[in-house]
């Protein structure tokens, strides 16, 4: 793989294909035990102990209003420089180099930065910053 090439982690939520830049993901793990978060909106599964840090676990499907995470699923822990957040998804599909992206168009959904066209079909690249901003915005709202 040539220098400067980015890699994408492709995962599934409710049969839809999403992607994150691999550099934004610290770890992919089995769903850990979680503890309830008082007053947090229902899309938060709870908080987990991630190597001594508290990381909130988000049911991505629930947040995107496309259902709920399918068990057992996987948890994608975001890089700690970005947030103390992990995304609960249905399964991890693959890791690809962005050389495999044949084309892209701007995302039309709020949390989607781009829709990437790959040999295996379309993938929605999550807009991490927009997702975090929306989570913060709705944090104290009754859900």
């Amino acid at each position: 793989m040539k220098d400067g090439t980015k890699r994408l982690l492709i995962f599934n939520v409710q049969e839809r294909r999403y992607a994150l830049g691999l550099q934004d993901v610290a770890e992919v793990m089995e769903p850990p035990p979680t503890f309830p978060i008082p007053r947090a909106p229902g899309w938060f599964k709870g908080v987990m102990n991630f190597h001594g840090s508290l990381v909130s676990v988000l049911d991505l499907a629930k947040f995107l209003k496309i259902g709920s995470a399918v068990r057992p699923g996987k948890v994608l822990v975001l890089d700690r420089c970005i947030a103390s957040l992990a995304l609960m998804v249905d399964r991890v599909e693959t890791i690809v180099s962005d050389d495999n992206v044949l084309g892209e168009v701007a995302g039309s959904e709020p949390m989607v930065a781009k829709v990437l066209n790959t040999a295996d079909g379309e993938v929605k690249l999550l807009a991490v910053e927009a997702l975090l901003a929306e989570l913060e915005e709705t944090m104290n709202r009754e859900v």
Partner: protein
């Protein structure tokens, strides 16, 4: 030669010098003939000049050089140190601060100091001779006169012959030390849980020894994180001077106990609240000189900031001899604004009435009066103090003045909490936020309207359910007693009902990070010995 490796050292040392510079400039106004202060001022400007020149920061060196020259003239008796000279030197200090910030940010220097340099070089004051040459009469002169008394010893002065046995350590290393200590404490609790299950005497013995060593380590780590209170109070004489000048009031400012040490986390969190309180004292607490004279007071108002240690807490008192506050007026104001019901006002003690100033909405920008002025930003002040595990109380007497009393823990990163269960949740409450815990018999609970209350002495304390606050299912408490902890929320005592108390424990506070940090009512989290994650309540913002 590459000087960049020395840049951080230059920045931190220059800032230390700047702090003493402001302090000395203001202190010299009190006694313009104090040779020690004059010499210290000269030396400090000289040090900044030398350091900046050796690093190649020409503009900083030039400005410091001119300030040094001005002090040299004062030292030689060819210039009288007066308010004008102090103003120029303070202006110079401000410019130096900006330029040093630019060095830190590696920003291109955009400060035009030529005008200031010229004014400093050309400064002479004949008018001031009359005022300053009669220091005995100085305090009673015109409305522009500001007298400041700064009693704290400079923390930066090193005694002659004292060998420097210290090294500079990055603050991030200090934070990392306390983090590791916190993790060790969490792991100690984990071992204790295992020990309880294993029932091994040898393991218990080893854990006992570990506990002793950890306590020692914790104390040592805390002691290196301690910073003198002077780190923030050094700039207060200057602040008060500027505020007094702006409002045309005469103020004597006294500081005592600046040598008391607190954790750097608390020191950093205290700066803004204290500035708010001091600003309110000058702007709204103290009367203008004519008003003071009319009621038989000295024209010069007095503000005093005192710090002292009481066991494991630090008490900070900010007092003024201004107009004071009238409980009845405060109650009427809060009632008129709909913040309290009239019947609540009737039953309110003077102490509770003073705390009304801390209720959000008591003072709003644009309608500040003598009544509401003391409340400007006080809700934020109390919230900040509570977040640090501290408490705030107010005492006041009409015509005599006000006292704001802050009580703070020495440290914050590792704290004692009360663990309690509320439905499926385990929550942690800092013990510093708990006035008392009680197990109430049902017979002592009565109703005031729809509100359940119980009495603590004469006072009716409302009861709130923590389960209800968190939107959790209400547990049917079947026992004879109801567990309640009494705390203060928005300046009022409240009894919070929980399902049961689980005990007290020392925990290491972990930040919540994005996005959970936005969740109201939580001050952080902690991991218990059995791996359970719990949340620490932020009583100031719970409801």
């Amino acid at each position: 030669m590459d000087m960049s490796q020395y840049r951080d050292l230059f920045i931190s040392e220059s800032r230390e010098h700047l702090r003493s510079l402001s302090d000395l400039i203001v202190a010299l106004e009190k006694d313009a003939c104090d040779k020690d202060t004059i010499n210290s001022l000269f030396r400090t400007a000289h040090s900044i000049k030398g350091m900046a020149a050796s690093m190649g920061y020409g503009a900083i060196a030039d400005l410091a050089h001119k300030m040094e020259d001005l002090m040299d003239r004062v030292r030689k008796g060819t210039l009288v140190y007066d308010t004008g000279a102090a103003d120029l030197l303070l202006e110079g200090t401000d410019f130096l601060e900006v330029m040093i910030n630019d060095v830190e940010c590696e920003a291109a220097g955009e400060c035009d100091i030529s005008g200031l340099v010229e004014r400093i070089a050309g400064y002479s004051s004949k008018e001031a001779l009359a005022t300053v040459s009669r220091p005995g009469k100085a305090e009673a002169t015109g409305p522009e006169k500001i007298s400041l008394l700064y009693q704290a010893e400079s923390p930066h002065a090193m005694r002659e012959g004292e060998t420097q046995q210290t090294v500079r350590v990055r603050t991030s290393v200090l934070d990392s030390l306390i983090n590791t200590t916190g993790e060790l404490i969490t792991n100690k609790h984990r071992l204790m849980n295992i020990g309880r299950e294993a029932g091994s005497e040898r393991l218990d013995g080893a854990i006992g020894e570990l506990t002793r060593l950890l306590r020692e380590l914790h104390n040592e780590v805390m002691s290196v994180r301690m910073m003198p209170f002077a780190t923030i109070t050094d700039r207060f004489p200057r602040l008060i001077r500027d505020l007094a000048k702006k409002s045309g009031k005469e103020v004597v400012f006294e500081i005592a106990g600046s040598e008391i040490e607190l954790d750097r986390g608390i020191i950093e969190g205290l700066s803004d609240p204290l500035i708010h309180i001091l600003r309110n004292a000058v702007d709204h607490g103290l009367e203008p000189a004519p008003e003071r004279l009319a009621v038989g007071k000295a024209p010069t108002g007095k503000i005093r900031l005192t710090t002292c240690r009481e066991k494991d807490r630090v008490i900070i008192v900010i007092e003024d001899d201004g107009r004071g506050m009238d409980p009845a007026t405060l109650i009427a104001h809060a009632t008129a604004k709909g913040l309290i019901k009239p019947e609540e006002g009737w039953m309110m003690s003077p102490q509770d009435a003073f705390m009304l100033t801390c209720i959000p909405g008591f003072s709003t920008a644009g309608e500040v009066t003598d009544v509401s002025g003391r409340g400007v930003g006080m809700d934020a002040v109390r919230s900040a103090v509570q977040s640090l595990g501290g408490s705030l109380a107010i005492e006041s007497e009409v015509g005599k003045g006000s006292r704001i009393i802050l009580s703070l823990p020495l440290t914050i990163a590792i704290i004692n909490v009360l663990l309690a269960a509320a439905a499926t949740l385990t929550i942690a409450v800092p013990v510093t936020n708990i006035l008392r815990t009680v197990e109430l018999r049902r017979s002592v609970i009565s109703s005031q309207g729809k509100q359940k209350v119980f009495h603590m002495g004469e006072e009716a304390v409302p009861l709130l359910s923590l389960n209800r606050i968190f939107g959790l299912p209400l547990t049917r408490l079947t026992g004879d007693v109801i567990p309640v902890f009494v705390t203060e929320m928005k300046g009022r005592k409240v009894g919070l009902v929980v399902d049961r108390f689980l005990g007290q424990q020392e925990v290491f506070i972990k930040p919540l990070g994005r996005p959970l940090a936005k969740l109201k009512g939580l001050a952080g989290g902690a991991i218990l010995g059995d791996g359970e994650s719990v949340f620490i309540l932020d009583m100031a913002n719970l409801v």
